[in-house]
């Protein structure tokens, strides 16, 4: 009961937090059919600023950290990425009236990671002054790529079986495609720059201080987009709505659980555990969709794009970021 009250208090507090408010404001802008559009160059630059900041910070943390500490969480990320897709394959993909390729595409995106949700998680933890290892957000690709690969392979195996075809899905091109996408390119380059050079000054004078502002701008844009994608969902089955609510909750819980194990075994910080839960809960909205579009051509983009970008992102930011924060605070007595 007290837990619930605490959660509700946090949730209401978070709703006052501008990050979520900007997201909702963006939805409102689309809802009233405003002619205002955030210029494409600007939101791409927002994404660049956020992911470069995450990458630089991650790289610097890896440089100054202990690589052994990171190993287990990285392995857990891979497991989560693959596991989430299999979980979807035996749940949402089996529901009546659901096309298996649509479901796998969707579940691939929910296994993958959203850079902006990550950024929201970081900002939230920083606001609460909860420490987390800088390299945790940089684990992003270890969950993202395996999830997308698994989804694409399962979908193609399934489709081939339907057509009684032989199929051979090659993994390397998918990995390349992921890494060549905008989001992972920037993140990985950021990590390399943080790891191999000394970007402290440009980080301290540019990428870090502007982080909060550009996140607000990106949230506004994401909100505008989420609302537009929601409309696409109209024709789509209500199973996907359920998945968008329950999937991230389950994935985040799994992430929290594995994070807790890492906490016990290798000393992952409480903040790191919360972060891992948020990464697991988050769903891809920038670089996942094009990879899925290319890898599972027959899947209907309105379904997966709508479920992930329209519903998933908003739900995770509004509900599950505060939830896992509250959970972490209780479990670790923060």
């Amino acid at each position: 009961m007290e837990l619930l009250l605490d959660f509700l208090a946090r949730f209401l507090a978070q709703l006052q937090a501008p990050v979520l408010a900007f997201l909702l404001a963006g939805m409102l802008i689309s809802a009233v059919n405003s002619k205002f559009r955030m210029p494409e160059a600007i939101y791409q630059f927002c994404v660049f600023m956020l992911l470069m900041r995450i990458g630089l910070k991650g790289g610097m943390a890896i440089r100054d950290g202990n690589i052994m500490e990171m190993l287990l969480p990285a392995v857990f990320c891979v497991i989560l990425g693959i596991g989430i897709v299999f979980l979807g394959y035996i749940t949402i993909a089996r529901m009546p009236g659901i096309k298996k390729d649509d479901a796998l595409a969707t579940t691939g995106l929910f296994g993958a990671v959203s850079g902006s949700t990550l950024a929201v998680g970081m900002m939230t933890l920083e606001n609460e002054a909860i420490f987390f290892e800088g390299w945790v957000p940089a684990l992003y690709p270890f969950m993202d790529i395996p999830a997308l690969i698994t989804a694409i392979i399962l979908a193609n195996l399934y489709l081939a079986k339907q057509k009684k075809d032989n199929v051979k899905v090659e993994i390397m091109p998918i990995i390349k495609d992921c890494l060549r996408g905008m989001a992972l390119t920037i993140l990985v380059i950021g990590v390399l720059l943080g790891l191999l050079t000394k970007p402290e000054r440009v980080y301290d004078t540019f990428f870090n201080p502007l982080f909060r502002g550009f996140l607000a701008v990106l949230m506004l844009t994401s909100g505008m987009e989420a609302y537009r994608r929601l409309k696409e969902l109209k024709g789509v089955g209500h199973w996907y709505v359920g998945y968008a609510f329950l999937g991230p909750l389950t994935h985040g819980m799994l992430g929290f659980g594995l994070g807790y194990i890492a906490h016990v075994l290798v000393g992952l910080s409480p903040g790191g555990v919360i972060m891992l839960a948020i990464i697991a809960a988050s769903n891809s909205d920038i670089s996942g969709p094009p990879t899925v579009r290319a890898g599972i051509p027959s899947a209907n983009p309105s379904v997966y794009h709508g479920t992930s970008t329209g519903l998933g992102t908003v739900i995770v930011i509004a509900l599950y970021v505060p939830l896992f924060l509250a959970l972490g605070e209780m479990v670790f007595g923060l």
């Binding site: 494409e40 939101y43 994404v47 987009e225 537009r228 909205d285 094009p290 579009r293 051509p297 794009h305």
Partner: protein, 108 residues
Amino acid sequence: MEFHKIKKLTIVTETAILDNVLEIATNLGAKSYTLDRVSGKGESGGRFGYDISGILNSVRINIIASEETVKKIATEIVEKYFENYAGIVYLQDVEVIRIQSNKFGVSE
């Protein structure tokens, strides 16, 4: 300066498959093309490119070449991609100024 009758092929489709379309066109003999980004609406709904992921971006490809070449390209692309991807493909007559080079593979 002569004007030479030839064909212009236009393909409007998803940016996601641009590289594949260009590869097919090149393999079937088109050495040159012009591209631009467009928005639009069709059977697959609105494609206004507002989304961060770029799933809803469309591209328009123009290829000026001999009728034979463009028909081969058009047929191959429609067969290979248009079951799953959004788009439209059409041909038009054009008269191209011919200069020294034999850019368009038209026999004299």
